[in-house]
Subunit: 463 residues, 2 copies
């Protein structure tokens, strides 16, 4: 018998004798002298139907073949007379491999809430929705690598444990071999690394090392925030993609961001059509329109100053009410409501806002000639808001030093980062994209816990 996966069986070109299908039972229906068994093996969303006739080898086990049971079926792949399926399996023998007790198995045919499924994250990929989600997640990761490799970018594994708290983005987790539950202070001098250590919040500074040696590079790895906020958009552990390009300015950076998003959407629609359709049908009816826009519309490129003007002009609704909760003026960081107004209502397509006030942005962003703004950019998409944030980096040693001093950062910590400017400095630029944000964008799922295999949030560390 030749084992084939359900995906291969369902896309067969012709009937086949002597195949073996291994998988888990999704449903079983008993007929007169036979049973229909729907089998899924995780290779695709669809099940394959097997017809098992009474008296076949294994028939005696049929009472124990219920939802969730693992079975192996030998048979023929034949054209299905039924609707909605081209192929089915006519069984010659069935083996029950692993039973699933119908009283205690948590995944019965009824629909389960996302909350409940989070409590059984070890079983939820066996459902249609989460099976589809994690197949899409896998393919999206592949598409990221393929996009960059096709463009001759090199993949860099930036370190996860870091000794610098100068990455400049949010609260960090400590990494230690000391036990804080022990009484008495324990010195970092005696810790594993001989100094304070933390989990990285960004691979950017490392990416800059490699951009200024290998040219175009990217990181794609886990990053961490110890922020004690329980929101649907924040997780303590998430994956981030950070390209970095030498000999590149803010405009090249915007080009890359736009191409990247278009590529990912196109790739996933092509390679995950069946799984994507589940989300368009059951999770977000506007999903296809959003993805059409990302794929086909030219992204608006909007200086921050003009964005503020637009927001000010639209501060009141037609009915004269305040449109925004947070007041708008030049110098503010855009709030989600502002971003969503620009991309969803004003332009109705993706918008790249650039040249932000220096005071709301990080020290490493390149100072513009106006002395007031830096060459930062955020890509905003409908429904999601900010999906990409990046900048051209300050490549001028003296300007960077002045910024570090101005912001009161510990200059000595940056010695190697300065060296990149001291020796053969070049204009360079890059951005970061949260991988989970991307998955929320392409599926319409609104809770980050539902796009991560084992999500980590405050007080949640199961599985």
């Amino acid at each position: 018998m030749n084992r084939i996966k359900v995906k291969a069986a369902l896309s067969a070109k012709e009937p086949r004798e002597d195949i073996q299908i291994n998988g888990w039972v999704r449903t079983k229906r008993d007929g007169k002298g036979f049973a229909f068994v729907e089998i899924n093996d995780g290779s695709c969303l669809s099940n394959i139907q097997a017809i098992v006739d009474e008296g076949l080898p294994g028939w005696d086990d049929m009472p124990r073949v219920g939802t969730g049971a693992a079975v192996s079926i030998d048979g023929e792949l034949v054209e299905s007379p039924g609707k909605g399926q081209k192929w089915e399996v006519r069984a010659k023998a069935l083996r029950l491999i692993g039973e699933a007790d119908q009283e205690s198995y948590p995944l019965q045919k009824k629909r389960h809430s996302d909350e409940f499924l989070r409590s059984i994250a070890h079983l939820r990929p066996r459902t249609n929705k989460f099976g589809a989600m994690f197949r899409i997640r896998s393919e999206a990761a592949y598409a990221v690598h393929k996009f960059f490799r096709d463009r001759d970018f090199r993949y860099v594994h930036s370190p996860i444990i870091t000794g610098s708290d100068c990455e400049g983005a949010g609260e960090m987790f400590r990494v230690t071999t000391h036990d804080p539950a022990q009484p008495g202070a324990q010195s970092y001098e005696k810790d594993f690394f001989g100094k304070e250590a933390a989990l990285t919040v960004s691979g950017q500074l490392t990416a800059e090392i490699f951009a200024t040696s290998l040219g175009d590079v990217y990181t794609f790895g886990p990053t961490f925030r110890a922020e004690n906020s329980n929101t649907p958009r924040h997780a303590a552990e998430f994956w981030m993609i950070e390209p970095e390009m030498s000999f590149c300015d803010i405009h090249g950076n915007m080009d890359l961001g736009e191409q990247f998003l278009k590529y990912l959407v196109r790739h996933l629609r092509e390679h995950c059509a069946e799984d994507m359709a589940l989300f368009a049908q059951w999770v977000d009816k506007t999903l296809d329109a959003t993805l059409d826009s990302i794929e086909n519309d030219t992204f608006v490129r909007l200086p921050y100053t003009e964005a503020i003007e637009i927001l000010l002009k639209n501060a009141k609704t037609k009915k004269g009410k305040d449109r925004f909760e947070f007041p708008v003026e030049w110098g503010i960081d855009l709030q989600t409501e502002h971003e969503r107004f620009l991309t969803e209502q004003h332009f109705k397509k993706p918008v790249i806002v650039f040249d932000y006030p220096k005071d709301i942005k990080a020290f490493y962003m390149r100072m513009n000639d106006d002395g007031k703004t830096v060459a930062a950019m955020d890509v905003l998409v409908p429904r999601v808001g900010e999906i990409i944030g990046g900048s051209q980096r300050e490549e001028r040693l003296d300007v960077l030093q002045a910024r570090i001093q101005e912001m009161g950062l510990p200059e000595e910590e940056y010695w190697w980062y300065m060296d990149l400017r001291r020796f053969g400095t070049v204009p360079h630029a890059g951005f970061g994209m949260g991988f989970e944000r991307l998955l929320m964008m392409v599926t319409g799922v609104t809770n980050i816990r539902d796009v991560i295999p084992c999500p980590r949030t405050p007080r949640h560390l199961e599985f």
Copy 2:
């Protein structure tokens, strides 16, 4: 001007007018009324040579164009009359973008020791050797993803922060928002996750969740060991690849391991020929022979018990001396000297040892019918020793429970792992391969610090 990368220029099919080359100067030689400038942009190992004639725009900056300086050259791509290079650039203009002070720039033309280069890990990818290394690392990661995707495996991001210390492999780092340097005990109840948290040592248990739902899966992510050992083969942070297959036994697992190694070697030899040649020439003269063997020889499959017999027969050298430092008897864990004898001297090719004594292996490995051995396997390759370790997993709930009790492990911690056996259990198998070990294997580099962008070892947390 159209910027092209050095790699593209050197593989041009025909001459081109109006190109721009951006990169860093590796060497400059002054002639009479002109200068040769060798430029590297990280896109490949080779430099491209530019001829800059006296009086061209930018010529006045030439005294400041030294090793390490960043330059941009406009010119024509023309056939080179020189030896060893097909193309060169005849400059029309040169711009000095970033100077590198020749007194203080650490990377001068002379050869530097690996030790020294580790102290400037932010600059070492600008050398030939480390540029080649990190291009190979990038391509190897791509090859890993491509191998699995071509075979319909799904990529799973297993969690980095874990609440279970039951992954069963070595010392773990703690993850906390407490500060152990503070006096007084701090309770884990009040920590970020409300319980003890650690950095993962393996994604296997998570991979089993997804193998028993999506079918064939793999993880590829960072893993951590807090072992305070300073050896050339150990790092505190390293990347690991862990495939896991449902409906698969130890033999299918061995097949996959062998195919995987052959594929990776073949892929890298094809796609990184120039970079690999550097290591074969300068780092390890036996490299090509080793890689030939991995690529072309059928791996020996050797039960542990037979391996012990072979070692016992060869316990003495021809001259009657003890061959091994560690005594051999049935039940021992094989030492590196034993593994290397089998693969380098006895068989002279890769060897897969399988069916190890249960007492030296982890609780989750499948018990064989003999009651003494488990379905574990290690792949040994010449010069490197163990490159892959894996097993068929215990899929029988009662046998697994008995093992967990026998080994005194906290059964309640494994409730979800047990569930995978409780509901639709299936035979499944997988293995782990250290990504850095692979890189050491394909380059001949013997210190793990030299295959990682920013290595983490005891008391080393720079960059």
